[in-house]
Structure formats: structure tokens, C-alpha cells
């Protein structure tokens, strides 16, 4: 048995699809386990959310109230972070939140794959967010959007401060993606390491085998913690999206 705790993060083509699907500029494109998980997440979450609200009852069923609660949760979050006009971006933020949340939760299923533990995926999502922020900022304020990078300071400080503000803005996708990626990576590595302890102790024989129950119990506790982290990181990702959108919409209002 392979006890390497990083083994679980390996991206590889799923069984039976060893041949590349297509070639783009000489690079083979495979259908990997990561792509499979993302397709599953997208299909399951959209199916669940559409079917759950289908009965459309006044007194909601359990699944309908789950869908409604997630709607209200995200709507309230956007409302607090960006105000009334931020609600135009509800579909985007909601999709992002549900996608990250479902990826995190599907990754918690033993034997599956955690899509959000790949920096490529989280960075693509974060770059999408920042790209949208830039586009919306320029659409709403035109060239005035660049005022975002000019803090209130005397001119001789601005020479230094403007590059700092620009870098600070450009590094946002990095911090946004690294936070999600590192949390997921750390949590799942920890789970695998403790799982390795169970196996190692269990096969040691004698009194040590009985001791293997200790890391087993710890895994249960960490698993619960990881479920919390899975939700929290999706929440943080969505709330930071809202905060960045707010800045694009309202520039310096809250500074």
C-alpha cells in the first residue's frame, strides 16, 4: 500500500482514457481525474439546485430549504459587502461559491480527488474574479477606475505609493488562490499522514496495534474540522470576491 501522503494530489488520466482527447498546439489534453471531479461537481450541484426548487412549495421540503438557504446566504453576503447594486453579480458569486463549496465537500469523500487543492484551479478562479473586477471597473468608471490606485497623499509620496498600490492589486489573485489551495492541501495532507499512522501502528503488532485507535479517533476530529474549513474557505473566497467587486463599483467610498 502506498503511504505517501502527497499521492492523493496526483493529477492523472482516468482509467480507460489514456489517450489524449485532443491536441492543442502540440500539447496533449487529457481527461484527468481532476476534470472528472469538476464535471461531477458541476452536474450534481446544478441538478440538485434545479430539482430542489422544482416543487416550489410554500412550506419547503428539506432539499428545497437547503437551496433557499444557500440563496439567501449568498444574497445577504453580497448585500452586506457591496450594497444594493452588487446584487447584479449574484449569479456569478453564487456559482463561484457553490462550485468551490461542492469541490471542497466532494474532496472530503474518501478516495475522491480534491480539485481545490490544485493551485492551477484556484488560480484560474481567482484570475477570473480579478479579470471581472477590472472589466467592470473600466465599464463603470472608464479611465477614472485608475483612481483606485491613487491614495490620498502628497505628490512626492505618490511616486512610491502608486506602484505599491498597483502591485497590491495585481497580487490579489495570488493571495486569493493561495489561501484556498494551501488550506485544502494542508488539511488533506494531515488526514493522509494520520491515516498512515493508523496503518503503520496497526501492522506493528502487539500492544502497538491496540494503540492505532488513537490516530483513528484523531482522524474523526480532523475530518470534522476539515468540513468546517471546507465551508469556511468557500465562504472566504466568495466574500473576498464581493469585497473586490465593491471596490470596482464604488472606488474609494469606504476608505
Amino acid at each position: 500500500m502506498n503511504l505517501n501522503p502527497m499521492e492523493q494530489f496526483a493529477v492523472k488520466p482516468i482509467l480507460g482514457l489514456d489517450k489524449p482527447l485532443l491536441q492543442i498546439g502540440g500539447h496533449p489534453i487529457y481527461f484527468t481525474n481532476q476534470a472528472l471531479l469538476m464535471v461531477i461537481v458541476a452536474v450534481v450541484s446544478s441538478l440538485f439546485l434545479t430539482l430542489a426548487v422544482k416543487p416550489n412549495r410554500l412550506v419547503p421540503t428539506r432539499s428545497q430549504s437547503m437551496a433557499e438557504m444557500s440563496y439567501e446566504f449568498v444574497a445577504g453576503m453580497i448585500h452586506t459587502a457591496t450594497g444594493e447594486d452588487g446584487l447584479k453579480f449574484f449569479p456569478f458569486v453564487f456559482t463561484l461559491f457553490i462550485f468551490v463549496l461542492c469541490c471542497n465537500f466532494f474532496g472530503m469523500v474518501p478516495g475522491s480527488f480534491t480539485v481545490t487543492s490544485q493551485i492551477a484551479v484556484t488560480f484560474a478562479l481567482a484570475a477570473l474574479v480579478i479579470g471581472l473586477v477590472i472589466v467592470i471597473g473600466f465599464m463603470k468608471h472608464g479611465i477614472g477606475f485608475l483612481k483606485l490606485f491613487v491614495p490620498h497623499a502628497p505628490w512626492y509620496l505618490l511616486i512610491l505609493l502608486i506602484p505599491i498600490e498597483v502591485i497590491s492589486f495585481l497580487t490579489r489573485p495570488i493571495s486569493l488562490s493561495v489561501r484556498l489551495f494551501a488550506n485544502m492541501l494542508a488539511g488533506h495532507t494531515m488526514l493522509a499522514v494520520f491515516g498512515g499512522f493508523v496503518v503503520a501502528l496497526g501492522s506493528a503488532g502487539g500492544i502497538l496495534s491496540a494503540l492505532s485507535i488513537a490516530p483513528m479517533l484523531l482522524i474523526v476530529a480532523i475530518m470534522l474540522l476539515e468540513l468546517l474549513v471546507a465551508f469556511l474557505q468557500a465562504y472566504v473566497f466568495a466574500i473576498l470576491t464581493c469585497i473586490y467587486l465593491n471596490e470596482a463599483l464604488h472606488l474609494h467610498d469606504n476608505h
Binding site: T80, E165, I167, L170, T171, I174, S175, A182, L232, I243
Partner: protein, 141 residues
């Protein structure tokens, strides 16, 4: 006096009478109505203030600051490295200079990010406290 709904829709007169019966003669319990009104008011005040957010835990705050600083330093250095590479392609030999300059600027940007994050977290905690004083009871979510 309970009739199945299929029978109710039969005649116009019947329907009118049934509506009258339902709304006037079998008026609901005023206590329940008051309770419902109170709950609706509660919901509306809560909705106006937005959902209450719990303050992030210490480890979450620490992790947030760490990533903000990390992103600033790495992003700044990376931008400088990229610009050096670009300048090298156009024949300017600025090799280490831009990277050093942008590394320092990136560190400053990282600290600026941390300050901004601290500001955000402070307002979030203050908001949580304010809504704590406002309405003590939390329903659902």
C-alpha cells in the same frame, strides 16, 4: 364544515361564501397573528442589516495575514523578474535591478495588503458586535 377543494370550486356563490367563511368567521387566533407579525418584523430588521457574520477565528486571521504578505512578496518579485526578462529580450541588461526594486515594492504592497485585511476584519468584528446588541435572538441559518 370541511369540504374538499374540488367541491369548493363548483359554483361562484359557493366560492364566495367559502372565502367569506374562511376569512371572517374562522378568523385565526390573534395571538398567532401577533406572533407571526413579530416574526416578520424580526426578519425584516435582520434582513435590512444583512445576515450576521461571525468573527473569524484567530487561526483564520493569522492565515489570512500570512497569505496576504506572501502574495505581496512573491507577486512583487515575480513582476520584477518578468520585467527583467522582458527588458532582456529588448536588449536592456537590467537583469537583477528591476527584480530587487520590485521585490522591495512587493514587500511594501504585502504589508499594505495586511493592513487592509486588518481593517476589513476590524469592521467585520465591529459589525458583528453591533448586531449582537441589536437583536439577541438568531433564527435559523
Amino acid at each position: 364544515m370541511v369540504r374538499p377543494p374540488s367541491e369548493r370550486r363548483e359554483g361562484r356563490f359557493c366560492a364566495v361564501f367559502w372565502d367569506f367563511w374562511e376569512t371572517v368567521l374562522t378568523a385565526p387566533d390573534p395571538d398567532r397573528l401577533n406572533d407571526l407579525g413579530k416574526r416578520l418584523d424580526d426578519f425584516q430588521t435582520k434582513h435590512a442589516a444583512g445576515p450576521r457574520r461571525q468573527a473569524p477565528s484567530q487561526s483564520q486571521i493569522g492565515f489570512r495575514f500570512a497569505t496576504e504578505l506572501f502574495a505581496g512578496v512573491v507577486g512583487g518579485g515575480g513582476i520584477g523578474w518578468g520585467l527583467d526578462w522582458l527588458c532582456g529580450n529588448f536588449g536592456f541588461h537590467t537583469k537583477p535591478v528591476l527584480m530587487i526594486v520590485f521585490f522591495v515594492l512587493g514587500t511594501a504592497a504585502g504589508i499594505r495588503n495586511v493592513m487592509r485585511a486588518a481593517h476589513e476584519i476590524n469592521t467585520e468584528i465591529a459589525r458583528g458586535r453591533a448586531s449582537d446588541d441589536g437583536n439577541g435572538k438568531e433564527t435559523g441559518s
